[in-house]
Symmetry: C3
Subunit: 279 residues, 3 copies
């Protein structure tokens, strides 16, 4: 494992390039408990970067899969009794092995039972939590300033991030997790460190399961980079850079989704360095 904690920002493109090189070399196994809409796209995203996905949620099997996984994704989309049982079993196995897991509290702003369970899970030391602004509000109770972190659908503008930054830092410290908040600008914080990624493209909001797949990519990066802050930022930078490259080569959301997978697969050091807009 590489990577010691550092301020990052200017170094992120080089760090991310290293992380993605290690992914291809080591082929970590990621067990994904995710919603049925996102399963196939998520698996293809993981395969594209060299990771090996598994997806079963069957209670009698999930322990075997989690036991050999290098990281676990817990995604709350399509939240049902079977998935909830699977999450508990998988989390126990992953914790036994002291391996990392990530929480993606999909749409907890809409569903009360989902939000309540997400709060419980956030207290169980995920290495990272990836979410959007509405989900962050529902999870943390934080408020002012976050309305700036709209979906990438909106024209990208410089948010007034003071309040958002503070709220993120507080919640990261409280949960001892890295928070990756994605939107027109992605922000990543671990309580002491903070980074903003201005890359991305509005077409990323016109394809289903993009956020879910971003979380899976964070899980993969957590396997090859011990510093969860660097791992999370690397995954989100890669995602947003691939989104820009794909947008240049596509004619709509259908071709975008296809070319995006190619772009992630083909990301190299030069692309990270030339494209990254990080502060």
């Amino acid at each position: 494992m590489h990577g010691s904690p550092h301020a990052l920002a200017g170094d992120l493109p080089a760090v991310a390039a290293d992380v993605f090189a290690r992914l291809r070399e080591r082929a970590p196994r990621i067990h994904c408990i995710t919603n049925s809409v996102a399963q196939a796209f998520t698996a293809n995203i993981l395969l594209a970067v060299g990771a090996i996905p598994s997806m079963t949620i069957a209670p009698q099997e999930v322990a075997d899969f989690a036991a050999r996984a290098d990281a676990l994704l817990v995604n709350l989309g399509t939240f049902d009794a079977e998935r909830r049982a699977a999450i508990e079993i998988a989390l126990e196995k992953i914790s036994e092995g002291k391996r990392p897991w990530i929480l993606d509290p999909v749409l907890i702003d809409v569903s009360q039972p989902r939000a309540a369970y997400a709060r419980v899970l956030a207290g169980r030391k995920p290495a990272a939590i990836r979410l959007n602004a509405a989900e962050f509000l529902a999870l943390s109770g934080a408020g002012a300033g976050l309305e700036h972190f709209q979906a990438k659908r909106e024209p990208v503008r410089r948010p007034e991030t003071r309040h958002a930054k503070d709220a993120l830092a507080r919640f990261a410290a409280e949960t001892a997790s890295v928070i990756g908040l994605t939107g027109a600008t992605d922000i990543v914080g671990d309580g002491t460190r903070h980074i903003e990624i201005a890359n991305g493209h509005p077409l990323m909001n016109a394809v289903t399961a993009m956020g879910c797949a971003a979380s899976a990519l964070v899980a993969a990066c957590l396997c090859v980079e011990k510093d969860a802050f660097a791992a999370t930022a690397s995954a989100l930078l890669a995602f947003s850079v691939a989104g820009e490259i794909a947008a240049d080569m596509s004619k709509g959301p259908g071709s975008f989704a296809v070319v995006f997978i190619d772009a992630l697969h083909n990301l190299d050091r030069t692309m990270f360095i030339n494209r990254a807009r990080v502060s």
Copy 2:
């Protein structure tokens, strides 16, 4: 809301162009209870036209999602106990809000339990029902003449539509729903009005979940066009025109499915007007 009842036919391309412009502007929320095969493709079709899909079928959550949806899709593919429970909960919420819903009775010609339940649902005032000829026969008991409405796989020929037209009008009147019957020619009827759309391409039958996605698109159009007849016809015209455009640009069903999403995303007034073959 726009749109007062009118005979349509010659006006349909302009009406459909307006409907699709409003979709992009208003971004309606569509809750989809649909089969697992169709979920991802359906979500991507809705996102491509500017609508916002949700897909959960978990009993403890579906009420929250249906409560904030602008329309509901009830698709009977992969008909199971969980989905049946979800349908009942979602329908109650949607009916409370007097918002529209659409029934897609997938393959009820094969499964008796599914057909029986579809007949119950058809009696609960869906704004529209979209189906193919075999499903229409199973749902309505109508017969003669409908054998002409084969899948688009068949060479397009002018059907003898007299009997079909009458059967459709009767069933539409009986259910107080708009019926959208898709095939080599699509026909839409509401009991008094009737329209036929000759657009489309055989490759539309070589991609899974195309019919399911067409129904989801009807649901979206119902949110921005009060006249359910105009909404249904607009959705089916858009679908068939996009199919023709995509066929011109693809080399098989794989690329067709991708380019089809792009084409729907990029549909503009000129394409509706130049391509529509409506009577």
Copy 3:
């Protein structure tokens, strides 16, 4: 039905071309009990070659679908109680009609309950079993020599196949099934006959559900070719040849998956004959 048992090898390209011509002509129905990750891709692969997929696993419906299917796919990915019940019902119907079925024991090397159930199923006379080397080891208990049959991800090299060949022949004889073992080289055996297919491309390992879809294609070929050995070899040859063609035309795993479907759809006699590397 065509096809009498023969040694194949040199004849396989012509036999496979005939099989695929018959698929397009006869449009057999394949009922697929498969995992949720693979459903949409599998359906699209079947549609691309002219077959008609169905996918329901609901216990109250699966008998109706299996009763009218020409073949059944039993895929153990996402192995749960509902799918297990569906498998039993569907197998009974298929056996009554003396129609063929295929077993795909996905990842039984990881999950003990899945492996135990796969062994039971292998004793119930599937026409074919398609699996990779690790799954073959878990199912048959065979060992030495099989480590050569890595995933296609590895550089293709000539395996020392003596032991593998013997182990396959023994297991095929024991189960009275054709065994299709896929990897860098695919091998097909029925106890007396044996064939090796050296076609394929590493990108086939970078797309989820490729193996699952290959099994579905075997199911389709079993409907139009009475000799299960020829049917299995034809399906796997088509798959690997389409993989090579798609790799030539794609820029990564995203475009590969799309172009692969086009390539399968467009396979013709010349491509089989010019591309096949069979011994």
